[in-house]
């Protein structure tokens, strides 16, 4: 059952805080054009099916694929919409993989499209209902609405992520300087990526630490921007991919696992009940994906990683939880330059989500960049040869992790 799936191409739109020069469908078609440009033999008519997704509530459009049909070339084609919040892009990429892997009659080449035009809505308002958890439970506990913001994680995503940052800092005993170092690396990398949003080639640790707190320990200079942008990936079968590009990237393992939502715990008693830096979902996701891909020693076998880290502490956390470093050692590895562009295990050389965050697209940009690094076509291409790479996504209420493991060698496990 099943068949080998390969990535033949990936494309991006230009990202900025306000892409007011384009509408949402135009933004998407920009990324589709870039994707097809990278695979010149493929035309829009060759696409057999589409998978789509964005963050549903941000632009105030429910299932925008309905009216964007013609802009994507999806007229009279099969189309599936998958959305999982912050991980939407990763989930769309994974469903692109499954659409090819399933081997439905007549469906070989699939275009996976993820996008977000955040300037059309208010992201933090949209996220407030996630950060507040189950409001009805609070009411039954006798907590009125006006006290919710004081009790719980005010500030939407950052409010929740701050809990995760402090618990992680407490475990690893790192300082804010360690966080700033990650930011500096990301933003400098972003300067070399054509589609990235916050390009800061000369950023220093001092400059980052000089910005005000949004929520301790996360400073204004440390958090991701809100971007407009789109990302597109082309999935197809092994045979077709060989015709479409020089170096097909084989998708050998995928997973998306959630544990309980970290905001309120089971009974509304607050974030303190669950350690948000524990991330059982991430550990399980990596177990599943590595098992499928036949990766036994992730630290040794993985050459490049793109992890979904809007906040610097998460970049450290995910590299540990996804098995790239031992627990608690990521900050030291980072300081030693192992995760640098020139390092032994480069991480987020696109600048990561920390530099560019078009939410619905972000989790797809990770596997897309990781695939381009294998193809040798990334805009900030690392000097070492990349054989195996991973791209992760993070979303939900701190609880869902998507992961895609890719390689330049197909996985010959198909029974």
């Amino acid at each position: 059952m099943g068949r080998q799936v390969a990535i033949a191409s990936a494309g991006f739109s230009e990202h900025a805080s306000k892409r007011s020069d384009v509408s949402m469908p135009e933004l998407v078609s920009e990324a589709i054009e870039d994707c097809l440009k990278n695979a010149p033999s493929v035309e829009l008519g060759d696409i057999d099916a589409f998978v789509n997704g964005n963050m549903p509530a941000f632009e105030g459009s429910n299932i925008p694929e309905l009216w964007m049909t013609d802009w994507m070339g999806a007229r009279n084609k099969p189309l599936l919409r998958v959305t999982t919040g912050g991980t939407t892009g990763g989930s769309v990429a994974i469903s692109g993989y499954y659409t090819v892997a399933a081997g439905l009659p007549g469906v070989d080449t699939v275009l996976a499209v993820a996008f977000e035009q955040q300037s059309q809505g208010d992201t933090s308002v949209g996220l407030a209902s996630v950060a507040y958890g189950e409001i009805s439970i609070l009411n039954t506990l006798g907590i009125p609405y006006e006290r919710i913001s004081r009790l719980l994680s005010a500030g939407a995503a950052i409010g929740v992520a701050a809990y995760q940052a402090t618990t992680y800092m407490n475990k690893t005993r790192i300082s804010e300087e360690d966080l700033a170092r990650v930011v500096v690396q990301n933003r400098r990398n972003a300067a070399k990526t054509w589609w990235a949003h916050l390009k800061m080639p000369n950023l220093t640790i001092e400059e980052v630490l000089d910005t005000p707190y949004v929520q301790y320990p996360l400073r204004y200079g440390m958090v991701c921007p809100a971007s407009d942008g789109a990302c597109v990936m082309l999935f197809t079968t092994e045979e077709k991919a060989k015709e479409m590009c020089d170096i097909p990237v084989y998708v050998n393992g995928v997973a998306s696992v959630a544990n309980e939502s970290a905001v309120l715990g089971y009974d509304g008693s607050g974030s303190a009940q669950i350690d948000p830096s524990m991330q059982l979902g991430a550990i399980r996701s990596s177990e599943l994906a590595y098992k499928q891909a036949g990766i036994s020693f992730p630290r040794k076998e993985i050459d490049y990683a793109e992890v979904y880290a809007p906040f610097p502490n998460q970049q450290l956390l995910w590299t540990e939880k996804l098995g790239l470093f031992e627990e608690g050692t990521a900050p030291a590895m980072h300081e030693a330059g192992i995760t640098d562009f020139n390092g032994e295990l480069p991480v987020n050389c696109s600048g990561g989500v920390n530099s560019t965050n078009a939410i619905g697209a972000s989790a797809m940009e990770r596997p897309a960049e990781a695939a381009l690094q294998i193809m040798g076509k990334a805009s900030n291409q690392v000097p070492k040869t990349v054989h195996t790479s991973i791209g992760s996504g993070w979303g939900g209420s701190l609880n869902l992790i998507t992961l895609m493991a890719m390689s330049d060698q197909p996985q010959r496990k198909w029974r």
Partner: protein, 379 residues
């Protein structure tokens, strides 16, 4: 296509205002499906849910349904379309060989939100939404008018579909109480108040509360779990253009393409003789006729001539269809479950005798812009 079996299912009864919490309903459905198959939570390898943030009224509403929907530490994802599309994703995951038991659930509580207002967010935000002239109700009116004008079909023909489905619903204990109308007449349907001319209130599917769930397993696994699995033999899905002016509303191109793809997978040459029963998601009564024609059960414009009663030549929607209750995000999934019940002989009062092959459909969008069709076969 490899054989994938439906090995368990559960549907919460449809209510116009359910005395349930959202999570209670999801739990009852997913637990019910597992219990029916005699399985435990630990047996689930992947979970696909189907909800819509606009219907649930909160961003990423699915991140709070992980535990109740059986998704804790399982490989899970969400499809934001119809429940029938979620089944497709579950099917793909099983076909890939990565998973051997998929739980798919979908549904919502329409009593908690104004359904037709929420549907307005599906329209083009620049040109159509501000005026709100084109929405799911008015477009259904255009569709019915286009169909009637082109083929000379009368309003009575379409009202008869509503009468049949509401009468069928009266035999289905899980159908919406308000839609169970055993003594309904064509006149009642036509007098029930204009929804959007010529669609009247009783011709439109009533939004309601429910969640449904089903379990998918590959052939080997399915035969271990149950001796009466229902096999998914073919599936097809397609999306047509958005603008109503670009489409021929007297037909349904996307259902036609979905049907072709599904029939090709299942090896069906003559649908009207090979299919024993159909469960079609009709948002309005006339769509049942349009779909039946596109699926090859009758010639174009002759859908009303099919004898589609429970004991007829080709029974359509013996359960009452979406006119017997339409829980958004769950309706297509319930159509599949109803088709499964027919094939396993569990449909009780509305059982079609000797049903071996069935089709079930789901849809989203104005005038059924995106359709999905399954061909199911009894073991």
């Amino acid at each position: 296509m490899q054989k994938v079996g439906i090995v368990g299912y559960y549907q919460v009864k449809l209510y116009s205002d359910a005395n349930y919490g959202r999570y209670e309903m999801i739990f009852e459905a997913s637990r019910g499906a597992l219990d029916k198959a005699g399985l435990k939570k630990k047996d689930i390898s992947t979970v696909i849910s189907c909800t819509n943030d606009y219907y649930d009224g909160r961003t990423i509403s699915n991140c709070f349904t992980v535990e109740v929907g059986g998704g804790y530490m399982a490989d899970e994802s969400k499809v934001e379309m119809d429940g029938a599309h979620a089944v497709l994703y579950g099917l793909m995951r099983v076909l890939s060989g990565n998973h051997n038991l998929a739980l798919v659930w979908g549904g919502s509580m329409a009593s908690c939100y104004p359904y037709h207002s929420a549907r307005l967010y599906e329209t083009d935000p620049t040109w159509e939404r501000p005026l709100a002239y084109v929405n799911d109700i008015t477009s259904a009116g255009f569709q019915m008018r286009a169909y009637m004008e082109k083929y000379g079909v009368t309003v009575e023909d379409i009202a008869k579909v509503a009468v049949k489905n509401k009468k069928n619903a009266a035999k289905n204990p899980l159908a919406l109480k308000e839609a169970q109308l055993p003594n309904l007449t064509v006149k009642d349907v036509l007098d029930s108040g204009i929804y959007s001319d010529p669609v009247t209130e009783l011709m439109a599917a009533p939004p309601c509360d429910s969640v449904a769930a089903l379990l998918l397993a590959p052939e080997k696994q399915a035969l271990k779990i149950t001796d009466r699995p229902v096999w998914i033999k073919g599936v097809g899905y397609s999306q047509e253009p958005y603008y109503l002016g670009d489409r021929d509303l007297s037909g349904c191109k996307s259902m036609n393409l979905a049907g072709k793809m599904a029939y090709a997978g299942a090896g069906i040459k003559d649908p009207s003789s090979e299919i024993d029963v159909a469960e079609l998601f009709e948002a309005c009564a006339h769509e049942e006729l349009i779909f039946a024609e596109e699926l090859g059960f009758a010639k174009k414009g002759k859908g009303a001539e099919i004898n589609s009663a429970i004991n007829g030549d080709l029974p359509i929607n013996p359960s009452g269809g979406a006119l017997g209750g339409h829980p958004p995000c769950g309706t297509g999934l319930i159509r599949i479950i109803e088709a499964v019940k027919q094939l396993t002989g569990e449909a009780g009062q509305y059982q079609v005798k000797g049903a071996k092959k069935a089709v079930a459909s789901g849809q989203i969008g104005m005038c059924a812009q995106n359709n999905i069709l399954y061909v199911l076969e009894a073991n």
